[in-house]
């Protein structure tokens, strides 16, 4: 319930922030056209409602949002919700596969490093994590394309599906999965490093706790201590982090979406900013904030499973 005022506050703030930018959608449209008469531009402004004072524009927008109407993108001549939901599935696909890969492997590697503390295995994992964390995403993406797409013809360079063949049914699913591999790996690498380091630190912290000493004194095996006691507690901060990062993933995937021409929300937001398509941009921000609030709810539920002491009221 607290989520709703937060989301409304985000909408109002975004609205004023975005209106600080010079130029409007009409300037961009007319600029792209190469030339346009002033009468034409005036007519367009009136049509888009851009000739109204800002508070009026905001009131109109808020009224529409409350009625679950995200408005109309004059640039695309389409309702905003259609544009967003078209792209939402692509983002969701990339995001889900990335989180599963990054969190899953991050936990495994972190666990492995912590168990083998200060051996060459630990050092190797730490170096790997450091390098992937420090490498720019766009560079990784381009190298992936050069190595796995051009030098070795294993994966397509970009896009979400084959636009010469237009597969249908199960072939299409396979085709999309094929296109998903490189962007997912690229985007995962960065987050993978983060979760690995975090998991390792969290495991080490838990090993130092009193309950581990108690467990050892009880005569439990190291294996049982690690997997049943330490692992569950060590997961809490990682899960929290994953919840927070869902929001960042939507924005942070702009680079990967751009390099692999993945038709997600990040790219749409990026383009609509430069086109000053504020209705569309506000819609995307709204969806992201709803998504972040929703995911954090899910995270709270996961807490209860990991730690029975936490209860959902």
């Amino acid at each position: 319930m607290q989520g709703i005022p937060i989301i409304l506050a985000i909408v109002v703030m975004n609205f004023f922030l975005l209106n600080l930018a010079e130029g409007d959608a009409v300037d961009v449209l007319a600029g792209e056209a190469g030339s346009a008469t002033p009468e034409y531009m005036e007519k367009m402004r009136a049509k888009f409602g851009l000739d109204q004072p800002l508070p009026v524009q905001l009131a109109v927008y808020l009224k529409n949002v409350v009625q679950l109407d995200l408005g109309y993108s004059f640039r695309h001549e389409m309702p905003v919700h259609e544009l967003i939901f078209d792209r939402f599935w692509a983002t969701l696909l990339l995001m889900t596969s990335t989180i599963i890969l990054a969190v899953g492997f991050g936990i495994l590697l972190g666990l492995f490093a912590a168990v083998n503390l200060n051996t060459w295995k630990d050092a190797l994992i730490s170096v790997f994590a450091l390098i992937t964390y420090a490498t720019p995403l766009f560079w990784v993406g381009l190298m992936m394309i050069i190595v796995f797409s051009i030098k070795n013809d294993w994966f397509p360079t970009s896009g979400m599906e084959n636009s010469a063949a237009f597969y249908e049914g199960f072939d299409r699913v396979k085709d999309i999965a094929h296109h998903l591999v490189l962007p997912t790996i690229t985007l995962s690498l960065f987050y993978l490093a983060l979760y690995t380091r975090m998991m390792r630190a969290s495991m080490l912290e838990q090993y130092g706790q009193d309950y581990v000493v108690t467990a050892r004194a009880k005569g439990l095996s190291e294996r049982r201590i690690t997997f049943v006691h330490v692992l569950r507690n060590a997961l809490l901060p990682v899960v929290t982090m994953a919840g927070v990062q869902v929001g960042a993933l939507i924005g942070g995937s702009v680079i990967v979406e751009s390099v692999f021409a993945w038709p997600g929300l990040g790219m749409l937001a990026f383009e609509s900013l430069f086109a000053r398509d504020l209705n569309l941009l506000l819609g995307i921000f709204l969806l992201s904030s709803v998504l972040v609030v929703a995911v954090n709810l899910v995270v709270d539920v996961i807490y209860c499973f990991l730690d029975p002491r936490i209860e959902v009221n």
Binding site: A21, E22, G23, D24, D27, V28, L29, A30, G31, E32, A33, G34, S35, A36, T37, P38, Y40, M41, K43, M44, K47, R75, H76, E77, M78, L83, D86, R87, A90, F138, L142, I145, I146, S149, I150, D153, P156, T157, S158, G159, M160, E161, S163, A164, A165, F166, E257, S258, V259, F260, A261, P263, G264, M267, L268, E271, F274, A275, R276
Partner: protein
């Protein structure tokens, strides 16, 4: 009425086209995937001349004519055109048996509606191209008579599918044309039908089985793909995922590399002569350091145009020698002017400024200024850096400013808050269509983009521009434009730098897509894939 020389050109071209078609053995079928960069906002080519719309629109909508690489008219929806002796009546004879993609017949009423209610009203350039058209008669379903207030010979250069697409009256009449559903669901008479637009991915067009031209198009499907990242675009080209990329969608550096390394990839500079892009510097002639024409002439004299072309644009382009592009030489509208040295002359420029009394201070600086750069990518930044260096040598210290597109447009064309601005303009197929807007007093229009931002105003020049517009006689017209070029070489509100040559990169299995002067903005009806 008399058949003009245009008609002869038309008939000759038609003969050549048909002759050629019979000899070659074209293959039918296949998908042509090509790069469209960036993704267009809509598909309404009748409302916007935006580049990416131009790449797709002419595949769906036909024009009355197309133009071959020598500028001759190729009949498309109009089979011929007659112009009366006084130039004030233009008659189009339309092709019979043409239908829209929804099955309705294409008639003279569509042409009348398109020109009077669409192009003249909502098209960005249409009000100029069809300025003189006062009314249109349709004596029968296949004859269109344009009544002109004054002769408008340039109008016949603006009839391509990109510049003036013919749109269906039955789908637009009574609607608000700018927001009509047609924008995202185009219905034309062209060789390809609109099928699907996956935002962020591609636009798919399928073969129009009932196209008026027998046996065309050859290709089954055209897909315009959007790839935001320049390096990925080059990779997709290299891998053969896309077969065609125009308007530098693949950057010059990658294009030259692919051309060299890959046997199946070639490059061409053809297909841009009707667009005629010209790189230039606009000056604020009302305020700031560049109100004196001497300074502007000195800047033009100092810049080494050939060096800029060679180092930044891989040699693709020609140094400008006048306010008008040398592509207009074919119609006698170009002459070489002073103060346009290809290699730049810093000493002469310094002398010009010394003689005019602009003294250097102890640091060798005569004046300082802000230099805005067109925000269309790295090439323009580098161009700005070179000019900054050269101007330093003649004592003009400039600071570079690079902003995002809306901010920049607002600064230059709305607030006039600039001193000098690096830019490029399309000079199009005739000076009236592309150049007049840059110099006429009536084109000082606050808030309108790509017009007279210098706010240069010269009554003598205005009169000449007006005369050049109406003059039907080629020789007299040539004399008028010579005088115009002289005035502009003296006053230089705008310093032209070089005629840009855009590169088209293509996979050699794509054939037959290069016969039109409109290049990538043509229909691809004759294109075919050789496996």
């Amino acid at each position: 009425m008399k058949i003009t020389k245009f008609m002869n050109a038309v008939m000759m071209t038609a003969a050549i086209t048909f002759g050629g078609g019979a000899v070659q053995a074209q293959q039918s079928g296949g998908s042509l995937v090509f790069l469209v960069q960036p993704e267009p906002p809509t598909m309404a080519g009748y409302v916007s001349t935006s580049g990416p719309i131009g790449l797709l629109g002419p595949k769906i909508y036909d024009g009355l004519f197309d133009y071959d690489n020598d500028g001759k008219m190729i009949p498309v929806l109009a089979e011929s055109v007659d112009m009366s002796e006084d130039g004030k009546t233009v008659t189009f004879n339309l092709r019979k048996g043409v239908t829209w993609h929804d099955g309705k017949p294409f008639t003279s009423a569509d042409v009348q509606f398109t020109i009077m209610d669409v192009l003249k009203k909502v098209h960005p350039r249409g009000p100029n191209s069809f300025k003189e058209v006062s009314s249109i008669d349709t004596p029968d379903a296949h004859t269109v008579v344009l009544n002109l207030d004054n002769p408008a010979p340039y109008m016949l250069r603006a009839l391509s599918a990109y510049e003036s697409p013919m749109v269906p009256k039955h789908l637009l009449e009574g609607e608000d044309i700018k927001s009509a559903k047609l924008a995202n669901n185009p219905v034309g008479t062209g060789p390809f039908k609109f099928t699907e637009w996956k935002k962020g991915q591609y636009i798919r067009l399928d073969k129009n089985e009932t196209y008026w031209k027998e046996g065309r198009p050859y290709i089954d499907r055209i897909v315009g793909r959007f790839i935001p990242d320049a390096s990925t675009r080059a990779s997709a080209m290299e891998k053969g995922e896309v077969l065609y990329a125009a308007y530098n969608a693949v950057s010059n550096v990658e294009a030259v590399r692919l051309n060299k390394e890959k046997d199946n990839i070639s490059i061409t500079t053809d297909g841009y002569s009707m667009i005629n892009p010209m790189a230039l510097i606009e000056f604020n002639t009302k305020e700031g350091p560049f109100t004196d024409a001497v300074v502007r002439r000195a800047i033009s004299t100092a810049i080494d145009r050939q060096f800029m072309l060679d180092t930044i644009f891989f040699g693709y382009g020609n140094p400008a020698t006048s306010a008008l592009s040398s592509n207009f030489a074919a119609t006698g509208l170009h002459a070489e002017m002073p103060h346009y040295p290809a290699n730049g002359d810093v000493a002469a420029a310094n002398k010009m400024l010394d003689d005019a009394g602009y003294k250097k201070d102890s640091d060798g600086v005569r004046m300082t200024a802000m230099f805005d750069l067109i925000p269309y990518g790295e090439d323009w930044k580098r161009g700005g850096q070179y000019i900054q260096q050269v101007l330093g040598e003649i004592g003009i210290q400039v600071e570079l400013r690079y902003e995002d597109v809306p901010t920049w447009l607002k600064r230059i064309y709305h607030n006039y808050d600039f001193e000098m601005n690096l830019n490029y303009f399309y000079q199009l197929a005739d000076p009236v269509l592309g150049v007049h807007r840059h110099y006429g007093t009536n084109m000082i229009r606050k808030g309108t983009h790509f017009v007279n931002s210098s706010r240069y105003s010269n009554a003598g020049l205005d009169a000449l521009l007006g005369a050049g517009m109406k003059e039907p006689n080629a020789e007299s017209r040539s004399a008028i434009y010579l005088e115009i070029q002289n005035i502009l070489a003296r006053d230089m509100p705008v310093v032209n730098l070089f005629e840009l040559e855009f590169l088209t990169v293509y996979n050699t299995k794509l054939k037959g897509a290069y016969g039109s002067a409109m290049g990538a903005y043509s229909s691809f009806g004759d294109a075919y894939l050789e496996e």
